[in-house]
Structure formats: C-alpha cells, structure tokens
C-alpha cells in the first residue's frame, strides 16, 4: 500500500507546487518572461509569517493573511518599478526584452536574498504551526496535520483563483491581456493595471505558499530557490503561460517525484524534474499540455 501513500503525498506536494507555479505561469502568460525572483516572493511570505507570529506574537492564523499582503505588495512594487520597460512604449527596448528580463529578475533575486540575509540573518527560523498535531495515519496513508491543512488551504485558493480568472471582470481582463495585449488595450482594458494585478496575485500566491509551508521548511534566506526551480519545471510542463496547464502539471510533478524518490533514486529526485524540463523544451517547446505557438 506504499503506492497509495506515495500517490496521496505526491498530490499534496503537487498542491503546494501549484500555488507557487500558477503565479509564474500568469506572468509568463502576459509578459512572456520568466520571473527568476519568483522564489523570493515565497521566501518573503515565509519570513513575514514567521516573524509576525514569533516577534509580534500574532496568532498564526492572522499572520497568514499578512504574509499574503506582503507578497502582493512586493509583487506590485516589482511590476511598477522594474517591469514597465518591457511593454510601456520604450520602443528600442523590445529587442532587449529577454535580456533585460533575465538580468533584472536574476539581480532582484540576489538582492532580496542578500537583503534578508543581512537584515534578518542567515539562520533558519522555525515557524509556528497552524495546528499542533503529530503525524497520523488514515489507512495506509501517513499524514501530517500541518501539511494537510496547508494542502486544504492551497486547494481552496486554487479553486478560488480559477473562479476569479474565469468569472470575474478582472479575471477576464487578465485573459484578454494575456491573449493579445494590444487588442485588449484597444478594447478599453487598462493593460498596465492588469499587469500590476497579475504581479500582485503572483506575489500573493507565492507568499502564501511560503507562509503555509514555513512550519515545515524552516525558512532561511535562500529557501525560495527550491520551489522556484520546481515552478520553472511546472510552467514548462504545463505549456508556458497556461494557468490550467500549470495546475495539472503541478499535481503530475508532485506524484512523479514522489514515486521517483522511492523507486529510482532519492539523491537525484530534484535533478529528475530539471531533466524533464530540458527534454520538454528541447523536444516539445510548446509544453506537454500546451498548444504549439508559431513564431515568425
């Protein structure tokens, strides 16, 4: 019955991955860039949660939304201060777009890591749990209370996001801008504001995922690297920019990795996802779940 255990735990991990990856996918969807500082949104969420709960003595349940707000704020600030040249009428910038995006987001990642390292300190913090439980078993499946609650919150957030994008006016504006920025602008949609919104949502979700996992991961300044790399794999698997693709790919990767670690190699479990990323980009750049986009 190990199989069931691995499957369920893989799905739970997949839910965390999804919370992280959909924001990255949304940013790729509208700007066609990879935000290499995405992991630092996660790190900021984890730290906000831990510090607010520990230092201010706020209940962990109240610290959670504060972490979300911090993430949204950072995402919004990043868009306002650094992403505008990518689309707001800077003419000659367009040819340098990819380079600029790589350099600036990579630089931002280093900046945030080192800033937190200096201000808060390099040592990992232990975050307070939302509920105090030990591991327990349901049938063959070993579960951990904190993880289960975190997974439940993640699932609820993902469903909420899906409804938001599909149903709400803002959500439809996001879809429109992702499909055709110019067209959406001509139709009267404020594409700039929509992009800010996407960065805020992206920051919010990543920060929440960091906060939810803070009791499990013990955040340190470079804690964002690992989930960020997972998100890259997922965004590629899900077809660069597709939110639905990213959600499915997250669950898929979570389960695959969980089996890989047990049946193939524990040491190389993280290399496995990266190998998939390389193979997919090389042989099927549209992603396993995406549609082929024609260039030229």
């Amino acid at each position: 019955m190990l199989v069931v255990d691995l499957f369920v735990n893989g799905l739970i991990v997949g839910l965390f991955y999804a919370l992280m990856a959909v924001g990255l996918a949304m940013i790729f969807g509208v700007l066609k860039i990879v935000n290499f500082a995405h992991g630092e949104f996660y790190m900021i969420g984890a730290y906000t949660y831990v510090l607010v709960a520990l230092k201010l003595g706020v209940s962990p349940w109240a610290a959670l939304p504060l972490a979300a707000i911090a993430g949204a704020l950072v995402g919004w600030l990043v868009e306002r201060s650094l992403m505008r040249p990518l689309y707001a009428g800077y003419g000659s910038w367009s040819i340098m777009k990819d380079e600029y995006a790589v350099v600036v987001t990579f630089g931002l990642s280093l900046f945030l890591i080192n800033l937190v390292d200096k201000v808060v300190g390099p040592y990992p913090y232990r975050g307070p749990a939302l509920v105090e439980t030990s591991r327990f078993a349901i049938g063959p499946v070993m579960l951990n209370g904190q993880k289960l609650i975190a997974a439940g919150v993640s699932a609820a957030l993902l469903i909420g996001l899906a409804l938001f994008i599909k149903r709400s006016l803002w959500g439809r504006q996001i879809q429109a801008v992702a499909q055709n920025r110019l067209g959406a602008s001509l139709a009267g949609i404020d594409a700039t504001r929509t992009t800010s919104l996407i960065f805020a949502i992206s920051g919010l979700l990543a920060a929440l995922s960091g906060a939810l996992l803070a009791p499990v991961i013990n955040p340190s300044p470079d804690v964002g690297g690992f989930p960020a790399v997972k998100s890259y794999v997922i965004v590629v698997l899900g077809g660069m920019g597709s939110v639905w693709g990213a959600m499915i790919a997250s669950l898929l990767l979570g389960v695959l990795e969980s089996f890989f670690a047990v049946y193939v190699s524990y040491d190389y479990r993280d290399a496995f996802g990266l190998l998939i990323l390389m193979l997919v980009l090389i042989f099927r750049p549209q992603g396993l779940l995406g549609e082929k986009v024609r260039e030229l």
């Binding site: 000659s92 040819i95 030229l296």
Partner: protein
C-alpha cells in the same frame, strides 16, 4: 529559362489549407508580381519558397535543382534571397556594418564588401546615415538598407514581401527605381504586393492567389482585368 518553379505546393495549418496545390514559375529576368486578397496564402507561399516553412506536399525547384525543404541559409547561398515585410536589420551595429556583414555572409572578402557597401549606400541615398546604428534609422531607411543587404552580392532571385507597405511615397519611388534598374541589369524579382499601381508599373507579369490557390497568371494588365481576380478582390479591397 525558368528560374524558380513549384509543383503541387501545399501547406495546412490545423485544418485550414493556407496554400493548396500551387504551381508557380518565375522566369529569369522578369519581375513577377504576386497579388491576392488578405489571407490568400501569399506570405505562406513565400515562406515555403525561401525555406522558412517546410511544405506538406509538393516541391520547389530553383535553377533546375530540387530545393524543397532546404534551409534559408542554403537557399541564400544559392542566390535566392528573401526580404521580410517587417524589416530585419541588425539594429545595434551601424548601417555600414550591416552591409558589410551581409557581404561577408555571401562570401565576399572584406575589401570587396566595403567597396560595394559604399557604392550601394550612395545609390540608396543612405550615405548621410551610414554611421548610425540601424536601429536609429527610419522605417523607410531600413527598407532601403535591406535592399542594399540583399544586393551587396548579386542575388539570382529576390523575393520581396510587401516592400512598399507603410513607406513614404518618396522612398517608394527610390525603391521602385532601384528594382527597375536592377531588373534592367538582368536581375529577377518576385514581388508580393498590395499596391496595385506599383504592381502595374513594375511587373511584367502577375499571379493572383485566392484561398490558397493560384487563380490567374499572365501579363499584369490581363490578370488585373480577369473577372476571377476582380471577383476575388470584391468585398475585400477594390484597388483595381
């Protein structure tokens, strides 16, 4: 002599036949106009002729050699040069360096490429801006620069995609003059264009595509007066 010909050329995107069973022939020394309403498959055809798209079916013959599926580089080496509707110049080096690079790419040695670049810049009225980065040139100047890059080593056949679109009338005249002069020297052109007055003025023969198929080919005036062609254009744009 037929310089370029296609047999049964076809390309589908999803379920749509962008080009279907196209048989086209370009005779050496002529200027052939390729016209047709929007979405008729002209650019797809051009992409297959220049190696940027691999056809689903059919073949392309250039100077009696089967070049179907050959890469753009291989075709450029054989003298089949293509110009894009949106200019593709090297924006972070000077106009002069653009020409020099194009010359070296076509196998000229550096001294020769420099000399020809100077002559072409003069002819194309680009000498005053030769030291500017190509990215700083106006749209029309970039188009002219592309002509220069194409002709720095004489091509056997130049494929031009909408060369006159969105170009200032004065520059349009410079370009038309350039094409005519080169044609008199024996160069062959295939010009995709929407600009009927220029097609009439420039092209010896014209071919008209509609819905992926060739519907008329012949002397320019005859093609433009062909009822099938008028029919194809009615409802879209009536330039005729």
């Amino acid at each position: 002599m037929t310089l370029l010909r296609t047999e049964g050329l076809a390309k589908h995107f999803g379920g749509v036949a962008a080009v279907d069973d196209l048989a086209l022939a370009v005779e050496e020394g002529e200027i052939l106009g390729l016209i047709g309403p929007n979405g008729s498959g002209k650019t797809t055809a051009l992409n297959m002729l220049s190696g940027f798209l691999v056809p689903d079916r059919g073949s392309v013959w250039f100077a009696d050699e089967n070049v179907t599926g050959k890469k753009p580089v291989a075709l450029a080496r054989r003298g089949l040069l293509r110009m894009f509707q949106t200019t593709r110049v090297f924006v972070r080096i000077s106009a002069f360096d653009n020409l020099l690079t194009a010359g070296l790419a076509r196998g000229l040695d550096e001294a020769e490429a420099r000399e020809r670049a100077r002559v072409l810049l003069e002819e194309l009225t680009l000498t005053p801006v030769m030291y500017l980065d190509a990215g700083q040139l106006s749209g029309g100047q970039r188009k002219l620069l592309e002509f220069g890059m194409c002709f720095i080593a004489p091509p056997r056949l130049a494929l031009l995609d909408e060369p006159f679109a969105a170009v200032h009338p004065v520059m349009r005249e410079t370009m038309a003059r350039f094409i005519r002069r080169r044609n008199e020297e024996g160069h062959t052109f295939l010009v995709v264009s929407h600009d009927m007055p220029i097609v009439v003025e420039l092209c010896d023969r014209a071919a008209c595509m509609n819905a992926g198929r060739l519907i008329a080919i012949g002397a320019t005036r005859d093609v433009l007066q062909d009822p099938v062609v008028i029919e194809a254009y009615l409802g879209s744009e009536s330039h005729v």
